[in-house]
């Protein structure tokens, strides 16, 4: 028996739950449901609507991209040093810290977001402390900052882990070689460690940016619905507006955007380093 038969269950799974849905999304996107219940081919009209409606959707899209970029940047700035210290010799023995970083990932993200709500609410934990100390109550929930916080909190481990893996696997002799050739610790980092960890950074960016650009629920819960993101819009089209066709068009549009950005990131990865090893 050929080994490839072993992949049959997965192939069936993929056809049913990945290929078919994509085909349907594509079909919905290029049709419009008429009042009589029949679908009518309308070409790119749905896609065109994304740009119409006085730019409402473009504004949401722009906000989503901008928040996702901010989230990715913050995750990178927080995550890299964290991964660096986790991978260093001094921390190698302390598994606790590593587990603490992984721990939130083992819980459903909705649970974590609800927990964040409890933290940020008008009468939440933070505000109780603030008012108990005699300060004015802070407006936390319902701000863009709260949404950004929620995203960073949820996606930070996805930045830390791939970078940590690359740094951990890095040949210590290469670092020593750089020191040996006269590089002080700062130069060793900029000239050797950082360039060699780019595959991990690219992986991290991919794994944070992709989900955060299409994120929903976080914006609804922590932003109190004041900050609709493209993921929320798509959810609304399917769940409440019942306009699957436009929802599909938006999904398709996002998918293409994401594919383009993955392509760009991969190109960066290849031009910078010979081999990508940042997946984990």
């Amino acid at each position: 028996m050929k080994r490839s038969y072993f992949s049959a269950p997965y192939a069936v799974w993929m056809v049913v739950f990945t290929i078919f849905p994509i085909v349907f999304v594509g079909l919905y996107a290029i049709t419009t449901r008429r009042a009589d219940g029949n679908d009518l081919y309308t070409g790119l009209a749905n896609i065109g609507n994304i740009f119409g409606n006085e730019g409402t959707y473009m504004k949401v899209l722009w906000r989503s991209l901008s928040l996702a970029l901010q989230c990715t940047a913050i995750c990178l700035l927080l995550g890299y040093p964290c991964a660096y210290f986790l991978a260093s010799k001094d921390f190698a023995k302390h598994k606790t810290l590593y587990v603490l970083i992984l721990l939130p990932m083992w819980m459903n993200f909705l649970l974590r977001t609800y927990a964040s709500m409890g933290l940020l609410e008008r009468n939440g934990v933070i505000n109780s402390i603030v008012t108990a100390l005699g300060f004015k109550r802070l407006e936390l929930i319902g701000t863009q900052g709260a949404v950004l916080y929620g995203m960073v909190y949820n996606y930070l481990p996805f930045m830390i882990l791939p970078i940590h893996t690359v740094l951990k696997k890095m040949d210590q002799r290469v670092i020593e070689a750089a020191q040996d050739l006269g590089a002080n610790p700062v130069r060793v980092f900029y000239k050797v460690t950082l360039p060699l960890s780019i595959p991990g950074i690219i992986s991290g960016i991919t794994m944070v940016f992709m989900p955060s650009v299409t994120t929903f629920a976080i914006s609804g819960l922590l932003g109190s619905g004041n900050f609709m993101l493209i993921g929320d819009v798509i959810e609304t089209q399917f769940m409440s507006a019942n306009n699957w066709n436009f929802g599909s068009a938006l999904s398709l549009f996002m998918t293409v955007l994401i594919l383009i950005s993955i392509g760009l990131l991969n190109r960066m990865d290849k031009s910078k380093t010979g081999n990508g090893g940042g997946k984990w």
Partner: protein, 373 residues
Amino acid sequence: MVEDTRLIELKGISKSFGTTQVLKNIDLYIRRKEFVTLLGPSGCGKTTMLRIIGGFETQDEGKLIFDGKDLSGVPPYKRRVNTVFQKYALFTHMNVYDNVAFGLKLKKPEELLSGVSNPTRKQVKEEINRRVTRMLKLVKMDAYAKRSVDSLSGGQQQRIAIARALVNEPEVLLLDEPLGALDLKLRREMQLELKTMQQQLGITFIYVTHDQEEALTMSDTIVVMNGGEIQQIGDGKSIYDEPKNAFVANFIGDSNILDAVMVQDYEVFAAGRSFECVDEGFAPNEPVDMVVRPEDIMIVGEDVGMLPGEVKSVLFKGVHYEMFVEAAGFNWKVHSTSMYPVGSRVGLSVVPSNIHIMHKMKEQTAPAAEESK
């Protein structure tokens, strides 16, 4: 040629990793322009010693003196020492040229162009280019400057690693088993090339290897190490001809090592009979090791030899035959250019000056020495 000034001195260096002591009170000096080889089996502490000189490990006790100054606590990037690492440790994110230029680009412009005041960026770039190109020519890799290091063969990567270190004109080059990954033929070629480079450039080389042939081929001085201790220091010939103990005798070249008793000066008793020898100064009836090199044993007629015996096995080794001859209860390893078939009765003979007498080692640190018995 080797100068008579001490460039590096190790004074009472000890180092432990956890509970294992890898270096025990090492005293050693290395002269300017000397080619020193640290030779020993794996785990003998030779690489740790090299890493202490390079600054990658710190000794627990003792002092490391470099050119008269104590180097303890000086980080690697401030030492006038460069290293060729065991697995090359090239920068895979750079091409060959940038790998070699790495150290030069870190130098201050005034260091690169000592005669020029306020050197321009262009002058610096040209100087770096000049030096890198010259070094790549020296290691015969000038045609590969723009290639990525991943695309090179092991031998080529080795050359780049050497060029990357040498281009900085270090006072000392440390080499950690640099030829270990190469095939035999390439290794022999590189041995000669390294020796030539060392003589041309007049740089002190400290070379770590477990390959005794490599050590004999290249070194001015060989430091034989075992179990974190120096066993013997000397040039190749003196170490080969006059090994200090059974470990050295067995590690450098082949040896027949027999338990013996020094009856009196110039007379040793082993294998059931007395042998005349040239050693003196042992206590009467002191138990000793008697070492005879396989090539020093002559095969003669059964009735004229010192020991009658029987050939047990024959191996053709190219230049000579390696035979095991059982005589007086001992399996003698004998090298000879003439072949005696298995089963033939022969006599063994050895001249007094080829019998080496050694004090018994304090502790049995030479498991390898046991094998031939």
